[in-house]
């Protein structure tokens, strides 16, 4: 059979009239206003290459799970169904499993937080807590104040709810109190409604820095004075490489702080269990938000985590993670010193990321195709800003690749940076402003 075009061979579809075009989406007129800003990003497409084994991905934020006791965990998962199956497979409470909420208090006690199980709302990862918090507080046009730079996943939530993000500078000791005060004063003078400060005080994603203990009460005091709630996002606080965890901001203020926690980095992200601790009135709203969004978080996942906490050495696991990530941080920082002397970077005391400043005139987003060709990937800095800043930075993750692969990745990156620097010098282009929103890869890009 040889198909030939012509009406007698029509098997599917209607020939369109010549006057009517198609946009390939019959529902184009139906989308909400907030949907129209979403774009198909070539940067995101480039990340598709990053999950191939040939590529050293310094882009994703995937924890390295190979050290988990999988035998034990598989028995534990089987027990969840065998012993508590009728509960695990049933609907549960919108606020989350009560036993787990009690256990979460033990985890938070490591950062000096004292709370009541009733203050805790279990969520599907802390990402969902972020969604609920933004949903109950932000109307379109409201302001969220966040560090410059800030977590790309949070910026995405704020954008989805049509909030505006105003960035506040940070330094090696985290958020700068004076800058925060100036920003809040300016926003107040401008008549803007600031709903909360979103902050990552420990081992910041992407900046790698931590808010010093001295600054914490000052930040809280400023926010209190301006009537601004603090949303403390603490995914990495227990993954410090030296010394004891720093007291959480929530431990210093239980009325003005919403605290977001997660098991994704200290145990494993696959169960998607996180939580938010909130003053009781806010917590009631969060529970309602949870019920309307998902009815209840997964009972099976919560019981699995609860059983893990009750029967496994979770503190030992965290210690193991800290040691492993410290070794990888050392590999990253050592390789950067060796191969990228013209760049500067933060040296994190914990967490997953370092924040690298490129030589003048280089644009991390424009350089990414060259990096992918060289089989290395990173996240361009613009992903971590609401307003197109950050072109001269890139986030490098050291959580997933082995130290050897990290060194190889940085070595490849060095050739990319030098090639790009040569090109920029050749054409005399200094970084030109780019307001296009860069999306980050999903965290599983390793």
């Amino acid at each position: 059979m040889t198909p030939q075009p012509g009406p007698d061979r029509v098997t599917v579809g209607q020939p369109p009239s010549a006057a009517a075009g198609t946009r390939l989406d019959p529902w184009l007129g139906s989308y909400a206003e907030r949907t129209h800003g979403m774009k198909a990003s070539e940067i995101r497409a480039l990340f598709a290459v990053a999950n191939r084994p040939e590529v050293v991905s310094l882009a994703g934020g995937m924890p390295f799970l190979d050290g988990l006791p999988l035998d034990t965990l598989s028995r534990l998962a089987a027990d969840v169904v065998a012993k508590r199956g009728l509960q695990a497979l049933q609907y549960g409470s919108g606020q989350g499993d009560e036993t787990l909420r009690e256990q979460i208090l033990d985890v938070m006690a490591l950062e000096a937080i004292s709370a009541h199980p009733d203050d805790v709302v279990v969520t599907t990862g802390s990402q969902q807590a972020l969604d609920y918090v933004t949903r109950i507080f932000c109307d379109p046009g409201d302001v969220v104040v966040a560090e410059a730079p800030s977590y790309v996943g949070a910026l995405g939530v704020f954008r989805a709810y049509q909030a505006d993000v105003v960035h506040v500078p940070i330094d090696a000791s985290g958020l700068i109190p004076e800058a925060l005060e100036q920003t809040l004063a300016r926003l107040k003078a401008d008549g803007r409604r600031v709903k909360f400060l979103y902050t990552i005080p420990n081992f910041h994603n992407p900046a790698g820095v931590s808010l010093s203990v001295e600054r914490r009460p000052r930040i809280l005091e400023i926010c209190r004075r301006y009537g601004v709630l603090v949303v403390e996002d603490n995914a990495y606080g227990l993954l410090g490489f030296d010394g004891d965890p720093t007291p959480a901001m929530r431990s210093m203020d239980d009325e003005g702080v919403l605290y977001l926690g997660t098991f994704s980095k200290t145990f494993a992200p696959g169960y998607r269990v996180g939580w938010v601790v909130a003053p009781h009135a806010v917590r009631e709203k969060l529970v309602l938000a949870s019920e309307s969004a998902i009815l209840c978080p997964s009972n099976a996942a919560q019981i699995a985590i609860s059983t893990y906490l009750a029967t496994c050495d979770w503190r030992g696991q965290i210690k193991q993670y800290r040691e492993m990530y410290r070794e990888r941080r050392d590999a990253m920082v050592g390789a950067l010193s060796e191969h990228l002397p013209d760049c500067s970077w933060t040296v994190p005391d914990g967490g997953f990321y370092t924040w690298v400043r490129l030589p003048e005139g280089l644009d991390a987003k424009e350089m990414l195709p060259r990096a992918v060709t060289a089989r290395v990937a990173y996240v361009p800095g613009t992903a971590f800003y609401f307003d197109g800043q950050g072109a001269d930075h890139m986030r490098l993750s050291f959580c997933y690749p082995t130290p050897e692969r990290i060194r190889e990745g940085v070595r490849r990156l060095a050739t990319v940076v030098s090639g790009e620097a040569e090109l920029v010098e050749l054409f005399g282009t200094a970084g030109h402003p780019d307001t296009e929103q860069v999306q980050a890869p999903s965290p599983d890009l390793a």
């Binding site: 059979m1 040889t2 198909p3 030939q4 075009p5 012509g6 009406p7 061979r9 029509v10 098997t11 599917v12 579809g13 020939p15 369109p16 010549a18 006057a19 009517a20 075009g21 198609t22 946009r23 390939l24 989406d25 184009l28 979403m38 774009k39 198909a40 990003s41 070539e42 995101r44 497409a45 480039l46 598709a48 290459v49 191939r52 040939e54 590529v55 424009e366 350089m367 990414l368 195709p369 060259r370 992918v372 060709t373 089989r375 790009e420 040569e422 090109l423 920029v424 050749l426 054409f427 005399g428 282009t429 030109h432």
Partner: protein, 317 residues
């Protein structure tokens, strides 16, 4: 239609390590799905270290490379498949290599009498040796503005910039060289942007109706893959005479470049109705928003049956 013959076993190659991996994977899934609907046995495979061993084990009747960019389109994967003694759907390695290199392809079709915008193709090293700004100034003086700067190979408009002011040219060059060592800089032709797919299901090449592309900005990555950004008219809003000229140009390019089984030629039709050849693709996109499937569906084809006809024709050849 295929009940009498045994179902062909086809390996669709998609993915690879190019910048267009994501698009290729989507194309591959679509084609695999459409072919399966005709009863063909289809395995979707990435281009990776397992490929040669997998192909030996699978022993397919045919491989359909749906690789976009780099080794997938430049002929090298086809060379390897030939070395393995595997039958491949589409254009051969040597012709793929010519079509893949946009400056060479333009030269070949120009010799065959087609109009193609005046251009220069310059490697990055030359700018270093001769002084970048001197060359850029000469390009603007000679070709005029606006200019299109694009990597000499590759698709999906990656690294492509329309330059309307001379001061934007250096940045466009930097962006282009992030994708390729050679930049193609050509005079921008104003007109109607169309794409014409050419197929050959055994009785010789024929053109599908031209697809007209209308965007509110450049037909860039977002405009290509984010449904809604671009309005498509199939067939293109051209007079019968111009439509015939456009189809003729695509068929002529297909023939001049020695392409086989399927290709897509991108053209601009100027105010006088002259089609200007921009580039040709030996592995055109087959995603939900791609141009070849749109043209085929508008012409009344069932995609599964059409793709199957291409497979059968290749196996009968």
């Amino acid at each position: 239609m295929t009940a009498a013959t045994p179902a062909p076993r086809v390996v669709v190659l998609a993915g690879g390590l190019s910048h267009e991996r994501d698009v290729s994977l989507r194309s591959g899934r679509r084609v695999a799905e459409a072919l399966r609907s005709t009863g063909a046995e289809v395995v979707l495979h990435d281009v990776d270290a397992d490929l040669a061993a997998s192909l030996r084990e699978l022993g397919p009747d045919l491989v359909w490379p749906l690789l976009h960019g780099a080794t997938g389109e430049d002929g090298s994967v086809r060379d390897v498949l030939s070395l393995l003694g595997i039958r491949v759907l589409g254009t051969g390695a040597r012709q793929s290599r010519i079509a893949w290199d946009k400056p060479i392809a333009k030269t070949v079709v120009a010799r065959a009498g087609l109009a193609t915008p005046e251009f220069v193709a310059l490697p990055q090293t030359l700018f270093r040796e001769l002084g970048a700004h001197r060359i850029l100034d000469a390009m603007v003086a000679h070709l005029g503005l606006p200019l299109v700067v694009k990597p000499s190979s590759g698709g999906s408009a990656l690294g492509v910039t329309l330059v309307t002011a001379p001061e934007d040219l250096p940045a466009a060059m930097v962006e282009c060289f992030a994708y390729s060592d050679v930049a193609l800089v050509e005079r921008a032709v104003t007109g109607t942007e169309v794409a014409v797919s050419v197929l050959d299901t055994g009785s010789g090449p024929f053109a599908l109706p031209a697809v007209e592309i209308v965007t509110d900005g450049p037909y860039d990555y977002d405009a290509r893959y984010n449904p809604g950004r671009t309005e498509y008219f199939v067939p293109a809003r051209l007079s019968d005479e111009v439509a015939g000229r456009v189809a003729g140009a695509a068929l002529a390019a297909h023939a001049a470049l020695g392409l086989a089984r399927l290709s897509r030629t991108d053209l601009i039709v100027d105010a006088d109705g002259t089609p200007w050849f921009l580039e040709v693709n030996v592995a055109p996109g087959m995603t939900e928003t791609s141009l070849l499937p749109q043209a085929a569906e508008a012409a009344g084809y069932d995609l599964g049956a059409l793709y199957r006809a291409l497979v059968d024709a290749e196996l009968d050849a």
